[in-house]
């Protein structure tokens, strides 16, 4: 409809303030009389807490208060709640341990907050925090899945026998056993999905401000979903009514899942502001972020694939142990279950699947959603297994996939693990990616690599994900303790400019641009005349925020519903102005027109009439032009595609370089191609980061041994090639925009393509397995071991 509508790479409106350094992040906000909080955190992974002596800390000039778990208990603050309940196979509820905001009685991971020091200055607070004397009685530690599931492992929680939080399953064991019984081939794999730390560019921060005169609390916090935080604080932790609590998530510098959750620190600054009578600010430093932000992934899995004589998949069995950390973070139980096992059919036609998942408590910081959240784990397992099957059966890897991809005539496709895919074209994205990477020219590139003394490998991953979360009734039945609809208000101003109030939150995604483009597409209003407002519970309707690639598919659909109401109301106003019947008025190209005539009113004229209703159908139409809508999705959306990678391996050093990345995604209808490509780029960087570089490593004592940028390897531009990114669109069938979502595709699809490429490069030497991250030493050792074995 307009040059700035769908398909236009409109430059990001929000970038002006970011490029000028004028973004307003939480740490940029300074309130009058603000004080500063610093947390005393446990240096031990497991210890009983004896006395906490704060006398020396309180004597530091400028210190206002030192608060501990005893103060939290005395104040009646609620524990940090979990937002998703999972039941075990036997019907029993998951073990849901208490999670006090400051440790009470014991600490259970390095970084567990023990005391909060509040002072006039951050310097004084830091100095005082170093003087808080805590009596830690160190206890035995289980810091990994392996340690926590060993016989006689130390228990993180006495109620969780064997450290099992829940023992859950999905699929049909009987039909799966039957499928394996008739299989010609069975291929097995054991693998880990490595643990990563999220590392948003902006560390978490929060400012609590209690206004005693009005008995009102304002919290500024680095959140992906301010209304969810207000809901949890109002109902469970701070325990104040919602109308007395405002949560503002201003500019937020990345989240990747880690800023979804309700964290203790944001509750504590809000409460502490009441205690000290001043605003209280806390800003995490990077090393603190490593031990207090929820981590991602961390699975150990065994899987078996059953195939017939022709290579057709007959069945899949998966048994996964998922590290869930010491405490249950907000959505932690959902990640290795409903966002993981439900994806194990991938893009393939599987007659039978059975998956078992045990969530394991360990003495580590919580594990929750991280970009992709369950879906990367499912994709990694499946795509490594399919590659292994191809090698074992001597079938070309691409052909084996082609044989088993769901055909376009099979949609809608009901999987054996609950999901029903509405639409896709996996053959088209496979072909597109192969053409993009010039797979036909691979042998020539391989020869050139070998002429340099290196090895070249080709890796493939055909993947699917589920996003656009989610139908509220469905997730409610699966244990969610919240709805997952989205909300929007579209306010047309008297002169025809528009403000959009969305319940989603933009922390890098570019909603201020793409949501303005929805308005431009539907109402013909230029994006410059549209302001998108998000992140402030006093301004926006109650919405569920941004994660799971849901904002355009769900939040955008809510905006469309509100726009539809605006258009309909405008028809009645225009009909009055045009002296026609509303049934004869159509809205086209930003104008209301009597069908078949040139009699028309511009959208702005109608808006003006709505606010200056002198000549107006006042008996039947209210003045004003503003509409609210809530949209509850009918199904998940199912983006998918093919990710291809070529690597070069230096056999002397084990260094892996990514030579080529070509992807073809189907993310549904694209609003802004530049932003969609950018989302793919960012996801690929994080996916390649996990495959080659990043890993959060705890030692046996529960110390995070690489909790700083001196040794935690973040991906950098120089580690990555130029990406070839393509889209083949099949429009989502059940939302009004046809959008599926793009935020996580890169992080989901690419890790197995990278590892499959590394294994392919090393296969001639006899290497059959490499775990993530494929570090130089790991690759070098695999080569040495293969040489010895040969």
């Amino acid at each position: 409809m307009s040059a700035q509508g769908f398909g236009a790479s409109v430059r990001r409106k929000e970038d002006r303030r970011f490029l000028l350094g004028k973004g307003q992040y939480t740490d940029d906000i300074t309130l009058p009389h603000q004080s500063y909080a610093v947390f005393v955190r446990s240096p031990h992974a497991h210890a009983n807490l004896g006395a906490i002596d704060a006398a020396k800390a309180k004597a530091v000039p400028g210190v206002l208060a030192v608060l501990t778990g005893a103060d939290v208990a005395a104040a009646g603050l609620g524990g940090i709640p979990c937002g998703w309940a999972v039941k075990s196979k036997d019907g029993s509820s998951m073990v849901e341990p208490p999670h006090p905001a400051l440790a009470q009685g014991a600490v259970r991971h390095v970084g567990d907050p023990v005391a909060m020091v509040i002072a006039d200055s951050k310097t004084a607070a830091r100095a005082a925090a170093a003087l808080v004397d805590v009596d830690y009685q160190v206890q035995p530690v289980a810091a990994s899945i392996t340690a926590a599931t060993a016989a006689d492992a130390p228990l993180v929680w006495p109620d969780a026998k064997g450290n099992v939080c829940f023992d859950w399953h999905l699929g049909d064991p009987a039909s799966t056993d039957a499928a394996f019984a008739k299989a010609k081939h069975v291929v097995e794999i054991e693998l880990t999905n490595s643990r990563v730390a999220p590392n948003a560019m902006e560390p978490r921060a929060a400012i609590g401000h209690y206004d005693a005169a009005n008995d009102h609390t304002t919290l500024y916090t680095t959140s992906q979903n301010p209304h969810l935080i207000r809901l949890l604080m109002g109902a469970f932790t701070l325990k104040v009514p919602e109308h007395k609590l405002r949560v503002v998530a201003p500019d937020v510098g990345g989240g990747f899942g880690s800023k979804i959750y309700h964290y203790a620190e944001e509750l504590l600054v809000a409460w502490a502001s009441r205690v000290v009578g001043r605003p209280v600010k806390w800003t995490s430093d990077r090393m603190e972020a490593f031990v207090s932000d929820a981590h991602g992934r961390d699975h150990i899995s065994k899987a078996q694939l059953a195939l017939d004589a022709n290579g057709k998949f007959l069945g899949l069995r998966v048994a996964t142990l998922a590290n869930i950390g010491a405490y249950l973070s907000t959505f932690a139980p959902a990640i290795p279950t409903y966002l993981y096992a439900t994806l194990l059919s991938g893009p393939y036609d599987f007659p039978a699947i059975y998956a078992e998942v045990k969530a394991i408590f360990t003495h580590t910081v919580a594990v929750d959603a991280y970009r992709g959240a369950g879906r990367p784990e499912a994709t990694y397992l499946l795509e490594r297994l399919v590659d292994k099957a191809a090698r074992q059966l001597g079938i070309d890897r691409i052909e084996l996939r082609r044989k088993n991809l769901i055909r376009t005539d099979q949609f809608p496709y009901q999987t054996q693990v609950a999901l029903a895919y509405d639409i896709g074209n996996y053959q088209a994205t496979l072909d597109m990616a192969l053409a993009s990477i010039d797979h036909a020219g691979y042998d020539k590139r391989k020869q050139a690599t070998e002429a340099k003394g290196k090895l070249r490998g080709f890796g493939i991953s055909t993947y699917i994900e589920a996003c656009g979360i989610a139908p509220s009734a469905l997730v409610g039945a699966l244990g969610a303790r919240a709805g997952l609809y989205e909300a929007a208000t579209v306010r047309v101003h008297p002169t025809g400019s528009v403000s959009v109030f969305t319940g989603t939150h933009s922390h890098g995604q570019g909603h201020e641009t793409t949501f303005a483009q929805i308005i431009s597409e539907k109402l013909g209003v230029p994006v410059e005349n549209v302001e998108v407002v998000h992140g402030d519970t006093d301004r926006i309707p109650f919405g569920m925020g941004t994660y799971g690639s849901r904002s355009a598919a769900v939040g955008g659909s809510a905006i469309v519903k509100a726009i539809d109401k605006i258009v309909e109301k405008g028809k009645k106003i225009a009909a009055h102005l045009l002296e026609a019947s509303a049934a004869d008025v159509e809205f086209v190209d930003g104008k209301y027109r009597v069908v078949g005539t040139d009699r028309a009113k511009a959208f702005g004229e109608v808006a003006f009439a709505a606010y200056v209703p002198h000549n107006y159908p006042i008996e039947t139409v209210e003045p004003g032009l503003e509409e609210n809508a809530f949209y509850d999705p009918k199904n998940f959306t199912f983006p998918g595609g093919t990710h291809l990678v070529e690597v070069e391996v230096d056999p002397e050093t084990g260094v892996v370089e990514i030579a080529e990345v070509a992807i073809a995604d189907d993310v549904g209808v694209v609003i802004n191609p530049m932003i969609v490509d950018g989302q793919a780029h960012g996801g690929l960087a994080q996916g390649i980061g996990q495959a080659l570089l990043e890993e959060a490593v705890y030692d046996a004592d529960g110390q995070l041994v690489n909790g700083s940028y001196l040794n935690y390897v973040m991906p950098r531009a120089a580690d990555l090639p130029f990406f070839k990114v393509g889209n083949h669109v099949t429009a989502c069938t059940h939302n009004p925009l046809g959008i599926k979502g793009v935020g996580e595709t890169g992080a989901i699809g690419v890790p197995p393509a990278v590892i499959n490429a590394v294994i392919d490069a090393l296969a001639p030497l006899g290497v059959t397995d490499i775990s993530m991250p494929a570090t130089p030493e790991k690759v070098w050792r695999a080569i040495q071991a293969a040489k010895k074995g040969a």
Binding site: E652, N711, V713, M714, T775, E777
Partner: protein, 264 residues
């Protein structure tokens, strides 16, 4: 970061006097290691004595068969110096691999040498080139200078003024960087002085060291293939999450080969 007194002397003598008077003072010379240490409260000096005001320490000059580089010359200035590029191109190249652009714009030769980080690049160059460290009071051979982990032969109140680098016949530096910190996991400087071969290794051990085994091999036959016989006992090498001692030992040979290749 704790409070400290800040000084900006205008001469070396003044800096030495300040150091003598303040036993808990530290010299600031670029600050690319010291400032992060202060920010993490890992050191709490009473005084910081900045050398930035001492102009005479910023010269690079050719003096007969050697290049003399002032202690305050930044890594970037060494990297871009026409004199260094002409006479010891390996040194210019090495300086261009230190840290990142911001570090190279602020960090200095004297600061790096006096700090003696076991994974810093310059110590390998000094040791392999047989450089001499000139201080306010004496000259110290590189072989005698680096005494341990962050330890040197400098007295507490001694100030590095310049480093004298003999111009070699040929030299090259090959580095395998830590993927996160970009420090040398293993850095090998190979120098053919014209009279003998000197090989220094940084990053792999508790301090920079000369590699007698590789020097011996290259003295006999300065060729890549000769290094097939090279070996490094891993016992005294560093091992950590990024690289075990065995892997570092292997990388020493690989980097030595690449350095020799670059010399030829």
């Amino acid at each position: 970061m704790k409070d400290f007194q800040f000084h900006r002397p205008s001469s070396v003598a003044e800096a030495v006097a300040l150091l003598k008077a303040r036993p808990d003072a530290k010299l600031l010379s670029g600050g690319q290691s010291l400032i992060p240490v202060l920010k993490l409260d890992l050191a709490e000096p009473s005084d910081l004595i900045s050398l930035a005001g001492i102009g005479e320490l910023r010269d690079i000059r050719v003096d007969g068969d050697r290049i003399v580089i002032g202690a305050l010359v930044t890594h970037d200035a060494v990297h871009r110096s026409p004199e260094v590029q002409q006479h010891i191109p390996a040194l210019a190249t090495l300086a261009g691999t230190i840290g990142d652009a911001q570090v190279r714009n602020r960090g200095t030769l004297g600061g790096s040498v006096a700090h003696a980080d076991p994974a810093a690049d310059y110590p390998a160059a000094l040791l392999a080139l047989g450089a001499t460290i000139a201080t306010d009071r004496r000259k110290i051979a590189a072989d005698d200078f680096f005494t341990g982990l962050f330890e040197t032969a400098l007295e507490r109140d001694e100030v590095v003024v310049a480093v004298h680098f003999p111009i070699p016949k040929r030299a090259a530096y090959a580095k395998f960087s830590h993927r996160a910190s970009k420090y040398a996991l293993v850095g090998v400087m190979v120098v053919d002085t014209g009279h003998n071969v000197r090989v220094a290794v940084t990053g792999a051990g508790p301090k920079v060291f000369r590699h007698a085994n590789i020097e011996g091999i290259l003295e006999r036959d300065f060729a890549v293939d000769a290094l097939a016989a090279a070996s490094t006992p891993p016992d005294e090498l560093n091992g950590d999450l990024e690289a075990s001692a065995e892997y570092r030992a292997h990388l020493i040979t690989v980097m030595a080969r690449r350095a020799v290749q670059a010399c030829l």
